[in-house]
């Protein structure tokens, strides 16, 4: 997935690193020190609809050409996460217990057009 540059108009992944110190939460989140809050943004023109991001294979390149040269149903396609990974957190709960847990689907790794 392309990472968004300021002038990238097409569907891409916008990366933001959030430091828990900046949230004022370092007193209860012990590990890690921060995490990648990425999100997907950008346009999905018809010929990119249904693609997993970059044309991952010859098949999807041909498929894109077919879509670009034939009127595609007028449904809009959106730029959405296509791959996400969990975030492992170590934190103190309100009783002062240490809790270690995996929060599923926390970090967006790839974006694509629905």
């Amino acid at each position: 997935t392309p990472t968004c540059e300021p002038e990238t108009p097409l569907c891409c992944r916008r990366d933001h690193y959030v430091d828990f110190q900046e949230l004022g939460w370092r007193d209860w989140i012990l590990q890690p020190e921060g995490y990648q809050l990425n999100y997907c943004s950008g346009q999905c023109p018809p010929h990119l609809a249904g693609s997993p991001g970059i044309a991952a294979s010859f098949h999807s390149a041909v498929f894109s050409l077919l879509k670009a040269n034939n009127p595609w149903p007028a449904s809009t396609s959106c730029c959405v996460p296509t791959a996400r990974r969990p975030l492992s957190l170590l934190y103190l709960d309100h009783n002062g217990n240490v809790v270690k847990t995996d929060v599923p689907d926390m970090v967006v790794e790839a974006c694509g057009c629905s």
Binding site: V18, G42, L92, N97, D102
Partner: protein, 219 residues
Amino acid sequence: AQGTGSVCSSCGGSKLAPQAERALVLELAKQQILEGLHLTSRPRITHPPPQAALTRALRRLQPGSVAPGNGEEVISFATVTDSTSAYSSLLTFHLSTPRSHHLYHARLWLHVLPTLPGTLCLRIFRWGPRRRHQGSRTLLTEHHITNLGWHALTLPSSGLRGEKSGVLKLQLDCRPLEGNNSTVTGQPRQLLDTAGHQQPFLELKIRTNEPGAGRARRR
């Protein structure tokens, strides 16, 4: 942001200024984390564990990722109180109210001091709610301890479940093993080091959904 290219490439609206976008991202991060941990607000830590105890306890946790999907590992530090009997101590743990938690692994970590008089017989009871002015207690496990230092004593997780109040009390009963004629030099409390970073703690592994619950739904 004004000027060319100041249109959002997703929705066509006007683009946010960098500071405004950053503030929005931080707010999103807070919501995302609280949602991921099933919390409505960030915990207010009134009694954080001592840093030294925390460091030692974390060293005992298995390194690497957590329990299998939807799992949690919890370390809960004990509050130690003396009880009437000469040989016993009461450990109180404050566990978070389970959200249909399924506890499947429990170990009690204790640090035994050099005052150990030969082999000790350590029995661990679960201290139940008061009935007819008597605290009821259920034997969970018995261990014979011959050396000093840290001991990880496995507890039957079935014996610890069902504590709705979230407060778990364990009674430790340390006595010299029968036939061991050396007398216990100090109170069990002196046998157990509960000061500073040698505080006893519970290491729990919890699955956040009851095993087989899906099967029940399918039926």
